[in-house]
C-alpha cells in the first residue's frame, strides 16, 4: 500500500500543472488565512475601541437622572472568536453589536461596515470558502480517474497480475489523495496558529481539533465518493460528470431546498407579526410612561402598606423607580415568552437542518465548521441570552438607583452622581466552552461518520466484485 501511496504523490509532484496549481492555491490559502486573521484583529480592535469609548462615556457621565441614563443605554459587543477568521459563519448576517436600553430589547442589527460586501452578490474570499468548496473540488479533480484512468490506460491488469488487489489499490489511492486535502488544511491551520498563538487556550485547541477533524472526515467522504463512482462507472467522463453533479447538488441545491423545507415545516413569524404580538402582550402590563392604572394602583397600595404611609409623597423612596422596574420585569416576561418561542423555533429549524446531513453531508460540514469556529446559531443565541441577562441587571441597577437613591416620587430632575455611573459594570461576554455544547452537534457528527463508514464499506464491497476489464 505504501508503494502505491508514494507513487501517487510522486505522480502529483512531478506534474508541473499540479505544482503550479498547488503553489497558487497554497499562496491563495496563505493570503486568505492571513487576511482573515488581520480582518479579525481589526474587528476586535474596533470593538475594543468602541467598548472603551462607551465605558469612557459612563465613567465621565455628569450627574444624570438614572432613568435618563437607562435611555442613553449601552452596547454589548459580540467578540470575534479566533477561529472566526477561518469560518465567519452567521456573523456575516447577524452583526455583532447589540444596543441595550430600558423598556426595549433590541436585535443585533449593527453590522461592521466591512461586512457590507456581503450585501453584494460577490461575497468575500474566506478560508471557509476554500475549505468547503475549492479543496473538495480539487480532490474531485485529483480522484475522478482513480480507477477509470488505470483501466483506460490498461495498467489495472498489470496491477492485478503483479499481485495487487483492487481493494488495496483503491484504498491506497484514496488515502494518497485524501492526504493532499489534509496537508492543505493543516497548512492553513498552521498559519492560523502562528498568527494567533498568544490567544490559544484549551477551548480554542479543542475547537481547532474539532474544526480540523470535521474537514478531514468530509474530505475522506468526498474522495471516497469520487473514487466509488470511478469504480462503478466505466469511463472517466461519466465519473467526473456524476461526481460534479452530486457535489453541485450537495453544495448549491440541497442547502437551499432544505432551508426552504425547514422554514415551511416550522415557519417563523414576520418581524411585524412578532412585534405586534409582543406589543399586545406588553400593553396589558404596566408601562413606565403610560401606566396601566389598575396594576399601578395595586402596586401603590402594597408599597404604601409596606412603608406604613398614606401617600406617595410620604414614601422614603421614589415610587416611579419601582414602577419602572416592575414594568421592566413585566416586559422581561413578555420577551421571555415570545423570544423563548422564537428561539425554540430556531432550534427546531436547526435540528431539522442538521438531520438533512444524512442526505447531504455538506450541511453537517457547515454546521460543525461554524460550531467549532463559534460562529453558528447556538453561539449567537448564547450571546443574545448573555446580553439580555446583562441588560436586565444593568436596567435594574439604574431603576434601583432611581427608586432607592434618595429621590422622592415624581422628582424626575433628581440626578445620581458620577461615581454611581462609574460603578455600573460593563458587559463582558464569556464565550461558551465547546465541550459544553457538543451535545448540540451529535447529529452532524453521526451523519458525517455514517457517510464515511457507508462509502468505505461500499468501496470495500464493490472493489471485490468489480470487473478489471
Amino acid at each position: 500500500m505504501n508503494d502505491i501511496f508514494i507513487n501517487e504523490w510522486k505522480g502529483l509532484f512531478r506534474n508541473s500543472l499540479f505544482l503550479y496549481l498547488t503553489t497558487f492555491f497554497v499562496f491563495s490559502l496563505a493570503v486568505v488565512t492571513w487576511l482573515g486573521v488581520v480582518q479579525n484583529q481589526k474587528q476586535t480592535d474596533a470593538q475594543n475601541e468602541a467598548h472603551k469609548h462607551i465605558r469612557a462615556q459612563w465613567d465621565e457621565m455628569k450627574p444624570t437622572n438614572p432613568h435618563g441614563a437607562a435611555h442613553f443605554g449601552s452596547y454589548a459587543f459580540k467578540p470575534n472568536s479566533i477561529l472566526n477568521s477561518m469560518d465567519e459563519g452567521m456573523n456575516d448576517v447577524t452583526g455583532n453589536v447589540l444596543r441595550l436600553e430600558g423598556h426595549t430589547q433590541n436585535d443585533v442589527v449593527y453590522s461592521e461596515a466591512s461586512q457590507s460586501l456581503q450585501i453584494s452578490k460577490f461575497g468575500k474570499l474566506k478560508p471557509s470558502l476554500l475549505f468547503q468548496f475549492i479543496i473538495p473540488l480539487f480532490l474531485i479533480f485529483l480522484s475522478f480517474k482513480t480507477l477509470t484512468g488505470e483501466r483506460e490506460d490498461g495498467r489495472l491488469k498489470l496491477y492485478i497480475i503483479q499481485g495487487t488487489s483492487l481493494r488495496r489499490l483503491v484504498f491506497a489511492k484514496i488515502f494518497s489523495i485524501w492526504t493532499i486535502g489534509i496537508v492543505l488544511l493543516l497548512f492553513a491551520t498552521i498559519i492560523q496558529v502562528i498568527f494567533n498563538s498568544n490567544q490559544f487556550n484549551s477551548d480554542t485547541i479543542f475547537r481547532l481539533f474539532m474544526f480540523i477533524s470535521t474537514y478531514v472526515i468530509y474530505y475522506l467522504i468526498i474522495t471516497s465518493l469520487t473514487v466509488f463512482l470511478s469504480i462503478v462507472l466505466r469511463n472517466s467522463t461519466a465519473s467526473l460528470a456524476s461526481t460534479i453533479a452530486i457535489w453541485t447538488l450537495w453544495t448549491i441545491f440541497l442547502p437551499k431546498i432544505t432551508g426552504n423545507a425547514v422554514e415551511k415545516i416550522t415557519p417563523l413569524p414576520t418581524r411585524v407579526e412578532f412585534q405586534k404580538a409582543m406589543d399586545e402582550d406588553r400593553s396589558k402590563g404596566i408601562d413606565g410612561h403610560n401606566p396601566s392604572e389598575e396594576r399601578k394602583k395595586e402596586m401603590e397600595k402594597a408599597t404604601l402598606a409596606k412603608y406604613k404611609v398614606d401617600s406617595l409623597s410620604q414614601l422614603p423612596i421614589n415610587f416611579d423607580g419601582l414602577v419602572m422596574q416592575a414594568d421592566e420585569e413585566y416586559g422581561n416576561t413578555v420577551w421571555d415568552k415570545h423570544f423563548g418561542k422564537l428561539y425554540d423555533k430556531f432550534q427546531i429549524q436547526k435540528r431539522n437542518y442538521q438531520l438533512s446531513g444524512f442526505v447531504n453531508p455538506f450541511s453537517s460540514l457547515q454546521n460543525l465548521s461554524m460550531g467549532a469556529a463559534g460562529t453558528d446559531m447556538f453561539h449567537h443565541l448564547n450571546f443574545l441570552s448573555q446580553a439580555e441577562n446583562y441588560r436586565r441587571v444593568f436596567i435594574k441597577t439604574l431603576n434601583d438607583m432611581h427608586a432607592y437613591g434618595g429621590s422622592k416620587t415624581g422628582d424626575w430632575d433628581w440626578k445620581a452622581d458620577s461615581e454611581f455611573f462609574k460603578s455600573v459594570a460593563d458587559f463582558n461576554y464569556t464565550s461558551p466552552k465547546i465541550s459544553g455544547m457538543l451535545n448540540k452537534y451529535v447529529i452532524d457528527v453521526i451523519s458525517l461518520l455514517v457517510w464515511m463508514a457507508l462509502l468505505l464499506i461500499l468501496i470495500n464491497y464493490v472493489s471485490k466484485r468489480v470487473s478489471v476489464l
Partner: protein
C-alpha cells in the same frame, strides 16, 4: 504447466469459447492465432483470471498470480517515472525488491539502452515501453508468460528486436 479443460464462455448468449481444451508444457511457446472475434482475448483474459469460464477448468502451475508474467498489447507505464523507477515500482507491487544494479541489468537484458534507464517513460517509444514491460514480467521470474499481441504497432525492426529479447 497450462491446462484448459472443456472451457465454455458466452457473452449475452453469444458463445465466445466452445469446449476449448488446451495443454501447454513447460518450456513451450504457444501462439493463439485467429480472426477478430475468434476468442483469443477471451482465452487470454480467462488465463489471467479476469474472466471466469461458464464451465470447464483452468490450471496454471499452482494457480497463483505470482507464476504469471503478463505483457499487454500496450504497456502503459507511469510517464512521470523513469524506466528503472517503473520497473522498481511494479516489482515492489509483486513483493520483489531488487537493487538499482539488478533492475538496470533486467532492463539491459530486455534490450533497453542504458542511457534510457533513468529517463522518464513519457519520452519512450512504444518499443521502449514494451521492453520495460518485458523486464517487469521477466523480473517477476514467472513460470508462465502471457503476451497479448506484444508486437502490434511496432515497426519491423522493433518487432524483431522485441522477438529477440522476449526469446531470451
Amino acid at each position: 504447466m497450462v491446462h484448459l479443460q472443456n472451457i465454455q464462455k458466452s457473452f449475452s448468449g453469444q458463445k465466445a469459447l466452445d469446449n476449448l481444451t488446451l495443454e501447454i508444457q513447460a518450456g513451450e511457446i504457444y501462439g493463439l492465432l485467429g480472426a477478430n472475434g475468434a476468442g483469443k482475448s477471451t482465452t487470454m483474459n480467462l488465463l489471467l483470471g479476469f474472466l471466469t469460464p461458464d464451465s470447464g477448468t483452468i490450471t496454471i502451475g499452482q494457480n497463483t498470480k505470482s507464476e504469471i508474467g503478463y505483457i499487454p498489447e500496450n504497456v502503459n507505464l507511469y510517464p512521470y517515472l523513469s524506466g528503472i523507477e517503473n520497473l522498481d515500482y511494479f516489482c515492489k507491487l509483486a513483493g520483489l525488491k531488487y537493487t538499482k544494479n539488478e533492475l538496470s541489468d533486467f532492463l539491459t537484458q530486455c534490450g533497453l539502452a542504458k542511457e534510457a534507464h533513468h529517463k522518464r517513460t513519457e519520452t519512450f517509444s512504444k518499443g521502449m515501453r514494451q521492453k520495460v514491460g518485458i523486464a517487469i514480467a521477466y523480473a517477476k521470474k514467472a513460470k508462465v508468460y502471457l503476451l497479448d499481441e506484444p508486437a502490434s504497432g511496432l515497426d519491423p525492426w522493433q518487432a524483431m528486436n522485441f522477438q529477440n529479447c522476449s526469446g531470451n
